[in-house]
């Protein structure tokens, strides 16, 4: 009989669903809260976060946004438009660009701007 088979399938499904959901519920109650808040972040620091033309025009806004969100809200991960993830840190920039000791300085002296970054942060000139 077709309907009897159908009834059995229904019954088994119901019991399994019940069991599975209850297992989840128990597991949730028993997991201890994590001791360390930090989860390792796979940071991609081999590529620039945006095209050079964009960075030339907008690096100050990017750095300002990074500084505020990482220092004040703890949101330390930047997701670029292509989906790759970076740590919001000046060191992410200088990790690649420190090979050019005049990075930052050339343009800033040409444009006669004097940002205060290097009063505290290590500049590419000072990096070992």
């Amino acid at each position: 009989m077709m309907s009897k088979k159908l009834i059995w399938i229904f019954a088994v499904t119901a019991i399994m669903l019940f069991a599975v959901l209850n297992v989840f519920r128990k597991g949730e109650a028993e997991t201890p809260p994590p001791l360390s808040v930090h989860k390792s972040v796979a940071i991609d620091s081999t590529k620039c976060i945006a095209p050079a033309s964009f960075m030339r025009a907008n690096h100050m806004q990017v750095l300002y946004e990074w500084r505020n969100s990482s220092v004040r809200t703890g949101n330390r991960v930047y997701i670029a438009s292509n989906g790759s993830k970076y740590e919001k840190s000046l060191n992410t920039c200088l990790g690649c660009h420190s090979n050019n000791r005049m990075f930052c300085f050339n343009c800033h002296s040409y444009a006669n701007v004097k940002p205060k970054c290097w009063n505290c942060h290590l500049s590419p000139m000072e990096t070992p």
Binding site: F10, L21, R25, V37, G74, V77, N119, C120
Partner: protein, 259 residues
């Protein structure tokens, strides 16, 4: 014929109810499926979930040992002007009368009165310094740390006046001239800003213990989450008689002492 249909109907209805109950038992009361989704990482920390705290067991602390303060000041490029007036303090030692001026114990032993005590920013739950700061340069973080955003500090020193523990120091001079062994892993400060202990928030994001806790050879310092009832610090707080600095001010310090 009529009876058979009725029978089928009752059977199917009963099963439908059973299936519904099965699903509801898991989904409706506890939202168990939603909770099993694990975030890949903490992109946006949950405010108030964690409250970092420290317990200092002064019974184990050896008089004259400076390893914690040295490690702290080295790790954070804290300048040493070798001059009391310009002193910058993150973690330091002071006398019983200075650290616990309002302690309620009377007639404490001479050893307790004569020895020096570790002092650092208490990262108060109800911090007076963050209320005094006009630019929100010092602020309460999502994890209970009273943090400094040096970018915003204008050097007005209201926070120093507000802090009842003397945990804040002002850079009267350029600190870079007085850093004897600079490290590249942490920035320095500049002249005209206030600085203080940051509870090693720079090390916590890397999953490390604070520099002082790690440097102490006697395990005097216990660091942990005060909001987690299963943490080491909570267990020690529950099993020992502890005290805080100036608890009567209602600042609710996150640094506790066993003396």
């Amino acid at each position: 014929m009529m009876n058979e249909q009725r029978r089928e109907f009752i059977k199917k209805t009963a099963l439908g109810v059973l299936v519904g109950l099965g699903a509801a038992s898991g989904l409706v009361p506890a939202f168990s499926l939603e909770k099993t989704v694990l975030p890949v990482w903490d992109e946006k920390p949950v405010p108030g979930k964690i409250r970092w705290g420290m317990l200092i067991d002064m019974r184990k602390c050896k008089e004259g040992c400076q390893q914690c303060a040295t490690a702290c000041h080295h790790a954070h490029n804290v300048p040493d002007f070798r001059n009391k007036k310009d002193e910058i303090k993150w973690l330091w030692q002071n006398s019983y009368q200075k650290v616990f001026p309002t302690a309620s114990q009377q007639f404490v032993s001479k050893e307790i009165q004569d020895r020096s005590y570790l002092a650092l920013c208490n990262h108060c739950a109800d911090s007076p310094c963050t209320k005094a700061c006009p630019t929100e340069a010092t602020f309460k973080r999502w994890d209970g740390i009273v943090a400094m955003d040096y970018h915003r500090c204008i050097g007005c020193r209201f926070c120093m006046a507000a802090c009842p523990y003397g945990s804040r120091s002002f850079n009267w001079q350029d600190p870079r001239t007085a850093i004897h062994e600079p490290v590249t892993t942490y920035p320095t400060r500049e002249q005209g800003v206030v600085e203080k202990c940051n509870f090693c928030s720079d090390r916590l994001v890397k999953g490390q213990q604070p520099a002082c806790t790690e440097a102490c050879p006697e395990q005097v310092l216990t660091f942990g989450d005060l909001n987690d009832p299963r943490s080491d610090i909570r267990r020690l707080l529950e099993t020992n008689e502890t005290m805080q600095r100036k608890p009567e001010l209602g600042t609710k310090p996150s640094v506790f002492y066993i003396i």
